[in-house]
């Protein structure tokens, strides 16, 4: 029994010798990153149209959409992101890519915010805010070409236009509306 105890350190040394060094020398050695690894997302400012589909899909609301005067701001708070990749899945124009970036430590939460500012289109009838960006309008027109006639109008102007065309059909004259 005591001999067994005495020999234990040698046994451990032989085991250690067999398994070798396992430590990953992280900053000097590349960490293991598979192709499926999900890190921080990156939003392509040349593709995103500010539709907010990603905001709806984001479980912890790391992505938020806010409307200020004539801008739509898409904000990404990395600190709350759980790197699930749902936003990249739902984005209709494929503006979001999941990168392999994980070295995100930061001394302030302000550095963990990324924003993308969109300008809101104006209604071509009354000049009021339309609530959509020009890329959203282009996207809609591409999907349904018939919408090109009214997509640049705000709901109020659309109503007016509809009533006007109905009235014209029923015999009203153009002068009644332009006066």
């Amino acid at each position: 029994m005591s001999l067994k105890k005495l020999l234990k350190p040698f046994k451990l040394i032989s085991i250690a010798h067999k398994s070798g060094v396992v430590t990953v020398l992280y900053p000097y050695q590349k960490p293991l990153i598979t192709t499926e690894f999900r890190g921080k997302i990156s939003i392509d400012a040349t593709k995103c149209m500010g539709c907010g589909a990603c905001v709806n899909a984001c479980p912890p609301n790391a992505l938020t959409l806010s409307r200020r005067d004539d801008t739509i701001v898409l904000n990404y708070f990395i600190g709350r992101c759980i790197f699930c990749g749902r936003c990249a899945e739902v984005c209709p124009v494929g503006a979001i890519t999941v990168t392999h970036e994980f070295e995100l430590a930061s001394a302030s939460t302000r550095d963990l915010n990324e924003s993308l500012v969109h300008r809101v289109e104006k209604c071509s009838g009354c000049g009021g805010g339309l609530g959509a960006t020009s890329r959203m309008l282009q996207y809609v027109i591409l999907r349904s070409p018939a919408s090109e006639n009214y997509v640049h109008l705000c709901p109020n102007c659309r109503k007016k236009k509809l009533i006007q065309s109905l009235a014209m059909k029923m015999g009203a004259r153009t002068e009644d509306y332009e006066g």
Binding site: V24, P31, P60, C81, F83, E103, L104, A105, E114, S115
Partner: protein
């Protein structure tokens, strides 16, 4: 002469404030021989009184809040916190739940009210944060590396 403790080995205290344990497993992973943070002199201690740095995980539930404040009060100055995981940084998936206070940002305000000063907080996002990300966070805290992320505002033309 004032000794800068961060010039020496830093001792860490692991403070779970109601996390799902994934971040804690990653911290344990960082402490194992596989990542071997003792290479950098980082050592786990059992009491906050011995710690230079608190590894804080979880969104700080209301139940743990008094204990978290007590533990942080016991840490000698200068106090450093490494907020690990989406939960600790911004409340994560639970950020607006009734039972949590929503991360270290909120905790900081409460600590200020209680007269407990925190000298530096470094945020490590991730759910869970990888062991490498935690090591990188400590390196950012010590000023060994420049932080990579900077908040940016892009304009869609």
């Amino acid at each position: 002469m004032r000794v800068n403790p961060l010039k020496k080995s830093i001792w860490v205290f692991h403070l779970n404030t109601g996390s799902c344990n994934a971040c804690d497993i990653e911290i344990l992973d960082a402490l194992t021989p596989y990542f071997d943070v003792e290479r950098f002199g980082i050592k786990l201690v059992a009491s906050p009184r011995h710690a230079d740095l608190v590894l804080l995980t979880g969104p700080i539930t209301r139940k743990t809040l008094p204990k978290v404040i007590n533990a942080l009060r016991a840490v000698p100055r200068p106090r450093y916190i490494l907020a690990i995981g989406a939960c600790a940084v911004g409340g994560g998936i639970w950020y607006d739940t009734y039972s949590v206070i929503g991360g270290v940002e909120e905790l900081k305000k409460m600590l200020e009210e209680n007269g407990i000063e925190i000298d530096k907080i470094v945020y490590v996002p991730g759910c869970p944060a990888r062991p490498e990300a935690i090591i990188y966070g400590v390196a950012v805290l010590l000023g060994l590396v420049e932080q990579k992320v900077h908040g940016e505002v892009k304009i869609a033309e």
